[in-house]
């Protein structure tokens, strides 16, 4: 069954924005984890 390709990128203007968002979120998490480590040590 052939499905029609939907090229519209959801939520962002392009897939590159998505990729930056995912990597940016990872960086934010690492910074938050670093702060947690320092706070509780």
């Amino acid at each position: 069954m052939e499905k029609k390709e939907n090229d519209k990128v959801p939520f962002f203007r392009s897939w590159n924005h998505w990729y930056f968002f995912v990597i940016g979120f990872l960086v934010l998490l690492i910074i938050a984890f670093y702060s947690i480590t320092n706070y509780f040590s």
């Binding site: 069954m1 390709e5 939907n6 959801p10 995912v22 990872l26 690492i30 480590t37 706070y39 040590s41």
Partner: protein, 578 residues
């Protein structure tokens, strides 16, 4: 275990089987059975990817890992979001454009028959054995803690899911995974809530984190440096997580059919990408939460006294061994230190709440000393019983279920035991589906005429059933061998993943390199990795002491070495070929 617990387990497991059968209706051909007619929306792809990766051991070992080694295990997943991005850019468009059933089909288009056969063979070998072990590993823990018969536990863990996996293929796998994950997360959240509720009067969530933090369990980020230099044998640190974890995730999600088969079920590139990217967003926080439950359990045991070993069967058996006097002495010692610790941890939280900085500082030093003493007793017990039985006496995987068994109320106990089965079923079902798709598409269909789509559909169901039986047999065989086999299979996986990834990276990025150069490079690197990892054994067997000069690294680095090694050698071989 009460009747209520058994009732909860029975209702949930039966419900999942019936739901799987209800969702089993699919087109009777290969595309319908293995790829659900490429019809899935992104959110089902996401849940299927997560349900495939999160096995029973994820939920058993995660909290235990945090209990014994702290939160730093979360770093193991730091490379995953980066891998998701690379897969979306490179792997997904190619797989979807070629309309492949398996990832290995692409290698025939790009290289040749032999490279496809080698790669799919490595996958079948590694995934077949590791699925068997993923049945056995949670079964042995459940049977040890609850006294269940290992044979029947293996059958329930690996057998019942075959009913809906054979019947409904990828569609039934995805829909059941969705329900399984919802139940698992609700239960884990409830478990975390209950731990906080069971802390002593006046001690809250934040105090529990402070206690665990002072005892080194809130070590979310570590650098892997000891005495100023990087320790390559250190398993979990930010560098091994980002770099080694990236290669591992790239290999697992990009080339392992059990994952590729999930996002090939998506309607189109957009839905595949969205499912994978969402996985990149939620996976690290999800693991953080699972580990946090372990840290809370650690804090709980500071107020209630942790046993010498959470593997209660091993502890009981050790009291009948030659070392029983030493075990009894260690038990008495840990009990008396636990009493002291409970007193100190109470005073510590009081100092914390009253803002007494000096008292807090003094008590935290005393607590660290007491923790070192109890860790020492637990280590002595492990060494002693390992010497006696030859079995791995590490109780990390037992911590969570021992807590559930000993401290949670009836009903909730049943719910948390049920989620171990559900998590196992989710990942095993996807593995069986992918093993069958690879053995049918990459081998059976190429060797004989499989006939009409209807015949291929029936053949695929038979292959799924066959792999299900094979994996249960591996689990039963593992029961005879013991924990040493689990370790061997885990190492086997790490040894293969890097090479498989290397083959795919050559295919995607080194356009001038052909099949023969890649094939030979893959064999050479595979041999090198095996010799490097087992260098002591090879040195002893061959008398070549020089082998011991090879790098001795933690398993996470094997993926990076394997992948980069195949790329480099394949490129060099191609140059010499000209």
């Amino acid at each position: 275990m009460t009747g209520l617990d058994w009732g909860v387990i029975g209702v949930l497991l039966t419900g999942i089987i019936l739901y799987g059968l209800y969702k089993s209706r699919t087109t009777k051909n290969l595309e319908g059975y293995f790829l659900s007619n490429r019809s899935m929306p992104w959110w089902l792809v996401l849940l299927s990817i997560m349900g495939t990766q999160a096995s029973a051991i994820t939920f058993l070992s995660g909290p235990g890992q945090a209990f014994s080694d702290g939160m730093r295990f979360v770093q193991y997943y730091f490379g995953l979001p980066i891998a998701m991005v690379i897969i979306c850019i490179t792997f997904v468009p190619i797989y979807n454009r070629l309309k492949v059933y398996t990832a290995y089909e692409y290698l025939q288009n790009r290289f040749d028959n032999k490279t496809r056969t080698l790669t799919s063979f490595l996958f079948l070998l590694q995934r077949g054995l590791s699925t068997g072990i993923s049945i056995y590993a949670p079964s042995i823990i459940l049977s040890s803690l609850f006294g269940w018969d290992i044979f029947w536990t293996n059958i329930i863990m690996g057998g019942f899911l075959i009913i809906y996996t054979v019947s409904g293929g990828a569609r039934a796998v995805a829909y059941t995974q969705q329900l399984q994950l919802a139940i698992i997360f609700a239960a884990m959240f409830l478990a975390g809530y209950m731990v906080v509720q069971m802390l002593p009067e006046g001690v809250g969530f934040f105090d529990a984190l402070q206690v665990s933090g002072k005892l080194g369990k809130m070590n979310v980020i570590t650098t892997g440096t000891t005495e100023g230099s990087f320790d390559w044998k250190d398993k979990y640190n930010i560098w091994s997580g980002v770099i080694g974890g990236f290669f591992l995730a790239l290999s697992y999600f990009g080339t392992d059919q059990s994952q590729v088969g999930r996002y090939l079920t998506a309607q189109n590139n957009r839905e595949s990408r969205l499912g994978l990217l969402m996985n990149g967003l939620v996976k690290v926080p999800m693991q953080f939460f699972i580990l946090l439950v372990g840290v809370l359990i650690f804090a709980f045991y500071q107020f209630n006294g942790a046993p010498l070993s959470f593997n209660s069967r091993l502890l009981d058996n050790s009291r009948t061994m030659a070392v029983k006097d030493s075990v009894n002495m260690l038990s008495r010692n840990i009990d008396s230190v636990n009493v002291l610790k409970q007193d100190k941890v109470g005073s510590f939280t009081a100092a914390l709440q009253s803002g007494d900085k000096a008292g807090e500082e003094k008590l935290s030093v005393e607590l660290v000393d007491l923790q070192k003493t109890t860790d020492g007793y637990r280590r002595q017990f492990r060494d002693m019983t390992k010497r006696e039985t030859g079995e791995d006496a590490n109780d990390t995987n037992y911590v969570f279920l021992a807590f559930v068994k000993d401290h949670l109320p009836a009903g909730l106990k049943g719910l948390l035991i049920a989620i171990i089965f559900l998590a196992a079923w989710g990942s095993i079902a996807a593995a069986l589906n992918s093993l069958a798709s690879s053995s049918v598409v990459d081998f059976h269909r190429r060797v004989t005429d499989t006939g009409t789509p209807g015949n291929e559909y029936r053949l695929s169901r038979l292959h799924t059933l066959g792999w299900g039986v094979f994996c249960i047999l591996v689990a039963q065989f593992a029961s005879q061998i013991g924990n040493s086999l689990i370790e061997a299979v885990n190492i086997l996986g790490s040894l293969f993943y890097g090479v498989i990834l290397g083959i795919f990276l050559v295919a995607f990025y080194l356009k001038k390199v052909g099949g023969t150069a890649t094939f030979v490079a893959a064999l050479m690197v595979q041999l090198f990795l095996v010799v490097m990892f087992f260098q002591d054994w090879f040195a002893a067997k061959t008398g070549l002491e020089e082998l011991k000069a090879l790098p001795d690294v933690s398993f996470l680095w094997l993926n990076a070495i394997g992948a980069l090694g195949v790329m480099l050698i394949a490129r060099l071989l191609q140059v010499f070929k000209r």
